[in-house]
Symmetry: D2
Subunit: 412 residues, 4 copies
């Protein structure tokens, strides 16, 4: 173990588990550590401080280890500026580029710590030295000549500490069990929505067409009408079946009030799209009185912005659908800027897409009938996601009821 | 195709699909058929009649084919008495024994058609010549000397015709999609429960512990209190966690009102069982005021019989649990005699067990968060089962509400 | 029942179940029927013929009923030309437009029956009177002035008859059980692939990234190298992780040979995409020796065309990805023209997308670890799909082995 | 925070995460802590030592907190003898009884630490003072007068430290993803089986009937024949379908080589049971040449003991089935005494049952097509379980191959 470097850790590093994670990481990767200083916060409000010497058999291995522990919030005692290398072409990363986490991050540029903007995971850190800005940049937007951070020097991550008392959902992290009391969880989601909105942040809904098929549409429309949702992110299918159910009472040709297939119902979604096409857009179809209710109608009437992202399996699609997925992704990103909470219901595709663009401090709740959907979302890096295994068709009516109850309780 | 025999088919054989099924079966098994007579009912109320000559290359193959088409309701034009062979030992079947379907069946004994009692699938037909009775007998109850029907002669099955107008659930047969309007389906289940009870038949609940874990317990208790359920079939776990939730507010140690694990909660189910043990039985614990609410409490107070069948994974178990599974199976069977409807919620094990003992005309509804559970139930022969993919914790509160609404509507 | 019309049915209408389906449909929709002529094929090779008078209380209801039974292959005794109405704008359908099934279809134009080209479900029938051509047209491609078939007159559907002997997979239709003998099914898929190719049709693979994550990549690459696959339809993720696994031995940062996450592995997929970006395309990266093996490599080397369709959750994406989903859909369609078989593995999104574009006679096999995926595919209209519940990581090695065995057996 | 007590922690308490867990627990439960002494092991092989003062607002709350941290391995600096209270009746626990974890545990009796025997979770600690023995006792076996440990004094738990280098499966703990490289995992299972056996411990198979239905039977039979399995725990269904497949080539009437249902196949499992009944037992049926191959056959021939536990859904059952579930549970327990590894395949019921009886140091691997099965097993307390999402029908042939490969490699 000839190679070694000193690193520092600060904050609630014991009770947040970061100290443990760092030691685990070092040893799992074949390194070793010596604790040089360890000042433990005696009371629960005291921060702790540790200095460790990390050692490894080779320079290369040491770098790999350091690269991982820096992602957990460790840093060099004296921090140099971040190294910057210009991108040699559009969408081409320099060797050794710094790949972002979705945790709050700072970069040292010109001796100063700059907070990173537009945080999301697996992106590139691009620095504008003149403007003193550092932006998280997806590969698709990297331009030739952009100054890219390489290596770990001069980057500091605030690894999220485990929240303590009053954490409404903390107990659920990392577990996805269908054996939880549904009504309790839905009540907690209702409280969280109201608290987030009172805190001045936005609540974003990400939804799939099963919301409509399972009959959850009217309750969701009511929730939007009452102002609980600030942005809707979805695809062609949710909007089409929502409009179909407004025009014909069916969803994919099935009557929502009887659950039976309706004669000629297989044409309904094509008619629905065609009618919106004739009007020019969903907004215009609402204004012309073609669409008279439902989720999209309430979005239009209540000025709730929506993004409909195209997918390879779309019929039609509706004129409002953004068929270029990279354009759709960017539009979606812009609408996530003020999100305090994202509620994902019955859509794996859009949930993973949105999860990719979220910083880890956004409350992320994923409701799906299939526990595997939440597992996949977390496998893809959205580790802050909390999974609720439930059925959209019973979830939304109960959520609407709980929102009303909690809103009332509070006003009194 | 040297070997051939004539068979007859009567009833709504075209529009019920039986004619098609018979032809399919014959040809799939390498046989052939000639239609000798085919009198089609011209109007939808008219029955049809067909006589077919079934042919096959060998006697053995012909017998195999006939054996299958007889299960669909075909029979010989002139029917001989059923052949009877005594069982050579307890639980030993004679070669060629007739294996029952779960459809209404008659046996010809002494020139007379006798209806088969206690119908369930995969059983043995035992005839009591003196009493002129024929009983469907599970292998476990077959005694040495019992007269067992062998071959297909003298047995007639009424294959269920596809129900027509007004069929509330017919559209759902054979499909298990989570994309159905939940509220609509739950309303239909509520109506069915009330109709079944008005028709003088019983409603049987088969339930698993997830009902309690997901917080569905109070709504189910209310449904029992209001008299909608006539029998409860479950296991040690449902009863234990129901009693635990009454004594401690928890289910497997998780507080149902907060969804968090409670300190010392891992002991609660053992305490719950131990308290019932001290009282002597669940009934006695209710009478002594130890248990003051919940599913089992309502069963006791409202004289709703329950069967708790033991399973290999039981803790305890409660003194009311029948630990010998064959005894439990028989007890369960007795409580299914007057069932018009069985509602199975969140338990694959008990659902398959009960499904095995049901004749096909009992309305069977299986509610589970996992669509694969219903598929398995149908794979095991309970083909009349209708699957609803939903979450017990939201299902029961909505069912309780719909039952109240429909009961009110009707009384007015 | 004042309103009535006569219709005809021909072919193996009894043993295919079509006669039954027609009668069911009429009665379920509140109509009635009288059988005027019924000539039953006495032998299994004889076709049957039926003439029915269909009646309904109102003209409108009668039209609805006829519209449905025509989809089953019924037609008027004397067939008029199809009625044609020009589309009033791009992507706007005329009222009463004929919505296609995915079964073989003919249209009567100028007294002549013309076969419909490019069949897929839920599309519009556009007729070119001069060229005497009729094309199935998705809404997105409908142009102002296109002559669209409206009503059911002059359209004839060949509803697929139930296949009889030798049907390799027929027994599986409509059921999706994980309790099937996997090795047997995989052997049958191997035989089917070889038979389809010998019959001169193409085998199309539709695949998701789980193929790579579960370690199925090398076996799939081998299958492509040996020439069993003619087209690959996938997305950015499959190609990215395949290339990542070639460059780094990892898939999403997990070492495929140890199943452990690799240090710095979270950067690998970005590096992989960036390297392809630098080369210009996947083909070019193969030619420059950057990519040296794997699924995409074998596609390039063996001239197997691939379509990579963009999705909202894409990182990068690779330069070969078609980011406009409607362009991607059209490209995909072109590659499905000669498909005799489509093998869909571990991707719900692409499976539904491809299923939408397939005529019903294309053998469609869907392999997924989750039985609900196949149910969804069938719910979306791809009723010919056969579901195999298995794990891509064990499926492909066994398929490669069975293909070799069967290919050998046959050559001898 | 008037109430407080001092506790100690020793060992690799930082890098095992125990220090973190203790602090978390205290604060989550509304308590507080002060670190009095904290000697950190400087090198990774050094143990650490901590003394903490735990405080809480009330005596009761303090007790609750201490009760939880003791389960993590903390203890009082000076440890008194465990308090013992006689059970007042059979199956009735004294108030405050100590409920066991499944981790190695010691009890202080007469000033001496005694290791607890027959460890499993949620049981009662019964001490025999004369024999100086302490046994983990399920409620069902608690007898009046048994000396039961109450409170936490004098009990010490060795909470498992997180294993470090070379841990073959550690990376998988707590995650159940279908996106793992199947072949790699199966190879690791093969190595583990061989290593466990070389270490002189037993490998126990817990299996469900889907092993037979999916065609995994022959490979499992081969694995048993080659001596890799020491005990088989299953139910009536696995044995019945295994014997059915030997006698008739079918499983639940489906031909395993063609995947098609066989005429008369619905009778096969009844015949199979009846034939064993005639022989008297499975062993006797093997000896008489009735059963000539398969899983049960290899068990008999290779003297591998098996326990067939009855369940409420059993047909028959076979004469070898233990129909009283509490007797079956005890028999199972006895066969788990020397288990070093338990391989659970395709059976949730038996997996949970066996999991309940295992100490946490037994390697526990659960293979199921449904990721939710493993989640449930872990929810029920078998937290050491490692989940592999795969299909029994492809899993066993690959496992057989890998076992052979690894066994060969090693012998050379």
């Amino acid at each position: 173990m000839q190679m070694s470097r000193e690193i520092e850790l600060e904050g609630h590093i014991i009770d947040s588990g970061i100290m443990t994670k760092v030691m685990d990481q070092v040893m799992d990767m074949g390194g070793n550590f010596e604790i040089l200083v360890f000042d433990v916060g005696k009371q629960k409000t005291d921060p702790s401080y540790a200095r460790l010497r990390i050692a490894a058999p080779t320079e290369e291995q040491l770098d790999l280890i350091l690269s991982e522990v820096f992602r957990l919030g460790a840093h060099y005692p004296i921090v140099a500026d971040a190294a910057l290398v210009p991108a040699e072409g559009d969408r081409i990363v320099p060797k050794g580029f710094y790949s972002t986490t979705n945790h709050p991050t700072q970069v040292k540029v010109g001796g100063e710590w700059i907070p990173v903007e537009f945080l999301e995971m697996d992106c590139i850190l691009v620095v504008d030295k003149e403007q003193k800005r550092a932006c998280c940049t997806p590969l698709s937007k990297l331009k030739k000549g952009d100054l890219v951070v390489v290596g770990e020097d001069g980057v500091k991550v605030d690894y999220p500490e485990r929240p303590r008392e009053g954490g409404r959902f903390e107990f659920m992290h990392g577990t996805v069990s269908p054996e939880r009391p549904s009504e309790t969880l839905i009540e907690q989601i209702a409280r969280e929505i109201i608290d987030i909105k009172r805190g001045g942040k936005e609540v974003v809904l990400v939804g799939g067409p099963a919301i409509i098929h399972t009959g959850g549409g009217p309750a969701l429309a009511e929730i939007i009408r009452k102002g609980y949702i600030d942005v809707v992110l979805a695809g062609n299918a949710l909007a089409t079946h929502d409009i179909e159910s407004n025009l014909f009472g069916t969803s994919l040709g099935m009557d929502i009030r009887t659950a039976k297939n309706v004669t000629g119902g297989h044409k309904h979604h094509i008619y629905a799209i065609s009618e919106v096409m004739r009007a020019g857009s969903i907004r215009s179809a609402v204004e012309k009185g073609v669409i008279t209710g439902g989720v999209m109608y309430e979005c239009v009437c209540n000025k709730v912005p929506y993004v409909l992202a195209g997918s390879i399996r779309d019929d039609g699609p509706l004129p409002d659908v953004i068929t270029d997925v990279m354009v759709a992704q960017d539009t979606m990103r812009r609408h996530l800027r003020d999100a305090g909470m994202v509620l994902m219901v019955a859509t794996l595709l859009h949930s993973v897409a949105v999860g990719n663009c979220l910083p880890s401090q956004v409350r992320t709740i994923c409701v799906d009938i299939n526990p595997a959907s939440v597992t996949k979302l977390m496998d893809r890096g959205t580790t802050q996601a909390i999974g609720v295994v439930s059925d959209a068709g019973t979830f939304f009516p109960m959520l609407a009821k709980k929102l009303d109850e909690y809103a009332k309780t509070f006003s009194v």
